[in-house]
Symmetry: C2
Subunit: 246 residues, 2 copies
DNA sequence: GGGAACACTTGACGTTGGTCAACTCATCTA
DNA sequence: TAGATGAGTTGACCAACGTCAAGTGTTCCC
């Protein structure tokens, strides 16, 4: 929770703020891997890497964004808060994912706070520079556009699920999102605490607990943070996954 | 509901499919007004205008997108459907608004169906051509990026509201979105039927009715499709509008 | 080893919103 | 004018989820 716990982790050498291994990590990101090495080097000239401890606040809802962020390592949660104390997890990001592009591009206050759910290393691309790069380098603009489009579609799915599906169905969707397989049975490890998952799914922890026992009827067995799914297609059917396309 | 009710409304003259008055209308759109006339003319070379009657389906969830659409006149609703019969209105668009950029850019199936809520004229920018234009013309890419960013943020707000606010609060937010004033009292006309508004707010029509009577306590009086709001700031306070920034 | 702190679960109960049915009212049509 | 139709409202009831409280580990720390 302590903003001061964060540490700069730069080592400026060649006029570039990034260490070579960080630059290499950035180049491997699905987000930027289509960019030419020259362009990549250029847009990261002013970039820096910051470390955050678990529960450190990266920024707060309402702040003005000063940099586009990319998770290099760890986990970041984006939580929305309203005045009467309500709080929810809008998104959970893992290594390789970019966040808050929309706030940086529009220069509007954050709609969410960001908190490190695990010790994390975060890349910052300063906003002023980034906006200029996007305006001037059409390859970058195109990459951002496709990335934001994909992200946009996942939010549309989220809105539909919130409006149309039950808590147990949304939990099932979340579990399916954790598996890599599409058939048969599997065991997945929950990557977050159950209270974090509850906030992500959009229910209270008590309700999450009940949703899990509800899913026993669908062949889902929980033991600590290990979840065994007996029949993946059956679970997909239960939450109508993939059936949205009528 | 009849796909065949739509009519092509083109009149090709100068190798351009658009009538001059349609081109002028496009140039006035907040979306494209920052583009140079030359660029605008270029991206609209293959554009066409289609008319739809009330309740015509413009496309269906699951279809592969073939063109970016812009509402020139009328109203369009985007509805999401799930397999067990549930349906909800994710968005309602009015004249001047673009839709489905994300599906066109990613070439993925629509997550929603589009229906004309009023007799409407819709501009189509063919997908193949549009994707090429976005890749080659950086001004266009930048405009799309800022537009999609704004849109993205409104969806984030939507997710937060769905997770954290009551039906009556979401209705109040919807009503506030209809007013232009920020203070005092006002009377707004509901631009859609109440069943459409119910789907938009994310409740059943019966619940919308009850939410309206609930809002009487906040100075909201309904008479047909005229809604009088006695105290706009009080209504904003009721649904915590603008207080998200803690 | 004792106990404080935390995460999670379970039960009892209240509130919100969905469901079903009846009813009103306006519009449209024969 | 009578009847049909559709939108909206209202009431009774129910299911889903939130709230509050108690209870069970588990971990951590002295």
């Amino acid at each position: 929770m302590d903003m001061n716990a964060q540490q700069r982790a730069n080592s400026g050498t060649d006029g570039h703020n990034l260490r070579p291994e960080d630059l290499a990590a950035v180049a491997r990101l699905p987000l930027f891997c289509d960019l030419s090495p020259a362009l990549l080097a250029e847009i990261t000239v002013e970039a820096s890497v910051t470390k955050y401890a678990r529960n450190d606040i990266i920024f707060r809802q309402g702040d003005i964004p000063n940099a586009l962020r990319v998770v290099l390592d760890g986990q970041v949660g984006l939580t929305g808060t309203i005045a009467d104390g309500g709080e929810t997890m809008v998104e959970i990001l893992k290594a390789g994912e970019m966040f808050i592009p929309a706030a940086v591009l529009t220069e509007k206050p954050f709609l969410m706070s960001a908190v490190a759910l695990q010790p994390s290393r975060i890349l910052s691309l300063p906003g002023e520079r980034f906006r200029r790069d996007v305006r001037e380098k059409s390859d970058l603009a195109y990459v951002m556009l496709t990335s934001l489009s994909r992200h946009f579609r996942s939010l549309v799915r989220e809105v539909k699920d919130l409006k149309l599906k039950s808590a147990a169905q949304r939990l099932a969707l979340y579990l399916i999102g954790l598996t890599t397989k599409r058939e048969g049975s599997t065991i997945v490890r929950l990557p977050h605490s159950k209270s974090v998952i509850a906030a992500r799914v959009g229910v209270r922890p008590e309700t999450l607990s009940r949703a899990f026992s509800h899913l026993k009827g669908q062949g889902v067995v929980v033991d600590g943070n290990a979840v065994s799914i007996a029949d993946i297609p059956a679970l997909r059917a239960y939450c109508h996954e993939g059936e949205e396309i009528i």
